[in-house]
Structure formats: C-alpha cells, structure tokens
C-alpha cells in the first residue's frame, strides 16, 4: 500500500480519516448492538452461560478474607436470634439505627423512597433496611419454574451464614405481580415455604415502584398477560447502605460471592 504513505498532506488525509472514523463508529455500533449480551445486561456471559447454569457476578465490594471467628456482638438483636417460623412482628422496632443518619451514598438503591407493603400488610420503606446487609430477589407468586429456585438461593445464602449474621441480614423478596400478589397472598406464600421469619420481608409495591426497583437492580421483566411474567433471574446483595455489592445472575449459580459480600458488608458496619 505504498500510495497511502505517499499522501502526506493533511488535506489529503482528512477525508480518509473521516471515512475511517465513520466506519469504526458503524462497526462499533453494530458490535454494541449485536456483539454480546454484555451490552444489554451489564453482566458478562456467553450464550452458553445464558442457558442458565453459570454465574455472572459483579462483585464491587473490596475482597476481604473471610474471618469465621470474628462475629459481631449482636446482643441488641436478640429478637432475631431465634429463627423460628413464627415471625416476631415486633422485631422491626429493633433495627439498628443508621449511623448518625449519614446521607445515603449516590449509588444506594434506598434512594427509592416510596414504601412498599410487606406480607404483614405493613408499609416498609427500603431505607428502613439500612444498617445491615440485605439480599434482594424479585419474583412472583404464580411462578413455578424459576422463582422457587431464586427463593431457594436466598435461603441457602442465609443457611451458609453464621447464625448471628443470618439473623440480622435482611432477605427481601419483591413481587413483579402487583395485581395478584397481595400482602395476604405473600404471607401465605412465605408460610408455605417456612420463610415467614422476622428477617424476611415479602414486598409488593405499585407498578411504578416495582419497575423502579427492577431497573435499579438490573432485573428485566415483562408482563406477558395471562398471569405470567418473563423475567431475568437475579440475586443482589446490598451493603448496609443499600449499595449493591454482589449480583448473581442465572439459576444454579455459585452462591459464594453473595455470601462473601454479606460478610464483608456486615464487617463494614462495625
């Protein structure tokens, strides 16, 4: 391509540069649109991963070595220590106070201020969850395939935590189905699963709140009519300020990053 090097004036090159730039942009645009799921989901993954087995994780919390001996003194949370299936409805009064009501970080999901309704029929503003880690899952009651596995994943995360940490960590299951999943129905669902516990919150909100939360959590869903929802399967760990620190996408994924993120978040509150 000797003739290209021969053209040395910038006048001669300029149009070629523009053409090249346009081509590069076009290629980049096509790549972005077609090249990979990363562009759309924010989570790396090949089509094979998409088929449902492998985790795609986004762990932004600083990795800290697990310290199994250094459990916090949670004596002020005695109400939560007994993990019986009978919920202690009074337990909410004992949530730890946010430290000096510092402003929420800009990346906190708890900026979503409008209260949801929990399975006991009580309003719950997300920032009331501030002060300890939380595990968020979006699901719906009539979902028979994926959602039970998502709830199960949250249950397994809880089971893998030391008892005191498990008792203080919040497990927040939020329904897509704002029509059918009434608080009563969510309560029945929780009881049936043996998960009507003090630290489990089964929430339903308005269509707008639900879409807002899903958007914040990067959960895609679509009401397909006929009572079914198409949705992505996501488990999110939030730190004590409501900032996402681990995200598992897919079913049957490894839970360790989420468990580790809960530990890390709990340590940071001490």
């Amino acid at each position: 391509m000797g003739h290209t090097t021969a053209r040395t004036t910038s006048e001669a090159r300029a149009p070629r540069r523009w053409a090249l730039a346009a081509l590069v942009l076009l290629a980049a645009g096509l790549l972005a649109a077609c090249g990979g799921r990363e562009a759309a989901t924010g989570a790396g993954g090949s089509a094979a991963e998409a088929e449902g087995a492998v985790a795609s994780q986004l762990v932004s919390a600083p990795a800290q070595p697990a310290d199994h001996t250094d459990h916090a003194d949670h004596s002020d949370h005695a109400d939560h220590a007994g993990r019986s299936d009978h919920a202690d409805h009074g337990a909410h009064a004992h949530h730890p106070e946010p430290l000096a009501a510092a402003p929420l970080p800009g990346t906190s999901i708890y900026h979503l201020a409008t209260p949801f309704t929990d399975h006991r029929g009580a309003p719950l503003a997300l920032d009331a969850l501030r002060g300890q880690p939380a595990v968020f899952v979006m699901f719906y009651g009539d979902c028979t395939t994926a959602c039970p596995l998502l709830v199960r994943a949250a249950e397994e995360i809880e089971a893998a935590l030391p008892a005191d940490l498990a008792a203080t960590t919040r497990f927040v299951m939020v329904s897509f189905d704002t029509e059918r999943d009434t608080p009563e129905r969510l309560g029945a669902y929780a009881q049936e699963k043996g998960l009507d516990r003090a630290n489990w919150h089964w929430l339903v909100g308005s269509p707008l709140q639900t879409r807002q939360l899903a958007t914040l959590l990067g959960v895609q869903y679509r009401d397909a009519g006929n009572g079914m929802f198409a949705h992505s399967n996501v488990v999110t760990v939030l730190d004590a300020d409501g900032v996402p620190s681990a995200r598992l996408e897919g079913l049957g994924v490894k839970l360790e990053p989420a468990i580790e993120a809960v530990r890390t978040a709990a340590k940071a509150t001490r």
């Binding site: 346009a22 942009l25 076009l26 980049a28 645009g29 096509l30 790549l31 972005a32 649109a33 077609c34 799921r37 990363e38 562009a39 759309a40 989901t41 924010g42 993954g45 991963e49 998409a50 088929e51 449902g52 929420l104 800009g106 990346t107 906190s108 999901i109 900026h111 979902c143 028979t144 395939t145 994926a146 959602c147 596995l149 269509p207 707008l208 879409r211 807002q212 899903a214 958007t215 914040l216 990067g218 959960v219 895609q220 869903y221 679509r222 009401d223 397909a224 009519g225 006929n226 079914m228 929802f229 198409a230 949705h231 992505s232 399967n233 996408e249 897919g250 079913l251």
Partner: protein, 264 residues
C-alpha cells in the same frame, strides 16, 4: 464498558441522522391549540418481538400527551421538585449526562424552551409524569399510538406510511427543534417519529424468555443477524430501530436524542 458501547450506538445513529439531515418535512405547522392529551381507544398491539407464546397485547383505552414534554415544562418541574436538579439527583437515578446541556440547576442556557426535554433519565421522566398525576406510556401503548397513520389508526394501510416513518426517524435534526412542528397523526399526536426517541414505562422489558430457566435479552439476538427472523413484521425497519434502541436502555441513561411524553 456498556456505556461506551451505548454511546457508540448513539454516535453511529446520530452520525447517520446528521448525514441524512436534509430539510425537515415541508408543510410543518405549529401545533393547533387543543387539549394537551388525547383519548386513545385502545386495542390489540402486536409487539415486534413477542415473548414466546405471547398473544397480542390488549391495550385498554388511555390518554396520551399530544406533544413531547418540553424543556420549559421540565424546568418548571425541577423548580417545584429540587431533588431532581442536576446537582441534587442521586447517581442511581441519573447518570452524568443528566441535563448536561443546561447552564445550571435551574438554567436552560442556550436550549430552546420549546424543544423537547432531553438528557432526562428514565427515573426523572417517570417522576415528572408522576408529579403530573400521569405516568409514562407503556411500550405497547406508545407503539399503538405510533402505528397510526395520518388518516386512520392503521398506518400500514396508507401508501407510503413505512417510508414516511423511516424518513422521519432517520432525518432527525441533531439538536431537536420545537415540539409540535411535525404533522399530527390520526389521533392528533405530534412528533412520535421525527424529533427524538422517547422513554416508555416498561424499560427493561425487552428480554423475551418467558418463565423459563434460560436467561437474558433475547431481543438483541433477535434484532441482529438471522435471529431477526423471529420478529413479527420484518419489513418495518423503523420499528427495528426503535426496539433495538429501547432494548439497550438503562434507567439512569440520558442523551440529547431521547425525550418523553406522559400518558394516563
């Protein structure tokens, strides 16, 4: 990385639009005085990429803004709701591009007050409509209105409809002009195609896998390459552009070519 890619999509589309930017549709006329919203009777909408087994969406009657929300209207909203000012809004609700063209928190700067409000995130657009006692239109509602022709509710029945919409979509001015200059459609709604892209309520609904154990955004695969054979109507290229653009959006994103209107 996703933001970079998305920016590049925007640039690519913008570049195409700029190069094609010939004169805007002749016969432009100011919006006739009339109601800010019009009644839409509703009806079945076949989305371009239905969820497997999904029936056409049956849209109930609703109302929609005749015009996109303008800069002046959005400024009034921010004045009344200072938590949505550029310097106050939490990062989760609006990324760095939010109202980036404004000269200050309550200063439109060089922007035309009558031009559509752009550089507005989905969260801010939804909050605007909520403050008005309205909401963003769903994707199905938006598509229902946008599928009307100049004479009737089914644009495809009118000769030249597809070409007209595609021309409007790809010949947008890089900096949108005032709202209401475009020809109203059968419902009396302006500027659905020729001015800016528009937010819809169900952002993040493009995945199309149903309640299954498979994951992810099937629509992107559908838009691209051989997968587009899954689309309901393969001849509507402007619709491909709209669905492809929407499927890449996240709630905190904003751009100078993306506005909104409210429904109720």
């Amino acid at each position: 990385m996703t933001h970079v890619l998305r920016f590049l999509i925007g640039l690519t589309l913008g570049l195409a639009a700029t190069q094609l930017a010939a004169a805007r549709a002749q016969g432009a006329r100011p919006a006739a005085p009339g109601p800010a919203m019009v009644e839409i009777p509703g009806g079945p909408v076949e989305l371009l990429f239905p969820v497997e087994g999904e029936e056409p969406v049956e849209v109930a009657p609703f109302r929609i803004d005749v015009l996109p929300v303008t800069n002046a209207e959005f400024l009034a909203f921010v004045e009344a709701h200072p938590e949505w000012a550029r310097s106050a809004v939490p990062q989760v609700f609006a990324g760095p591009g939010y109202l980036a063209g404004w000269a200050g928190d309550l200063d439109l700067g060089a922007l035309d007050p009558a031009a559509p409000a752009t550089q507005v995130s989905w969260f801010a657009a939804a909050a605007y409509c909520e403050a008005r006692g309205a909401r963003l239109p769903t994707e199905a509602e938006w598509e229902l209105v946008a599928s009307a022709g100049l004479e009737g509710p089914r644009g495809v029945d009118e000769p030249g409809y597809r070409e007209r919409v595609l021309t409007l979509t790809t010949n947008r001015a890089p900096v949108p002009g005032p709202v209401g200059q475009g020809e109203p459609n059968h419902y009396g709604v302006h500027d659905l195609h020729g001015l800016v892209w528009e937010w819809v309520f169900d952002v993040g609904s493009s995945m199309a896998t149903g309640d299954s154990r498979s994951e992810g955004d099937r629509r992107l695969q559908l838009v691209c390459g051989g997968g587009s054979a899954g689309a309901v109507d393969k001849s509507d290229y402007a619709a491909f552009l709209r669905y492809a653009f929407r499927s890449g959006l996240e709630g905190g994103y904003s751009s100078g070519g993306l506005g909104f209107r409210c429904a109720g």
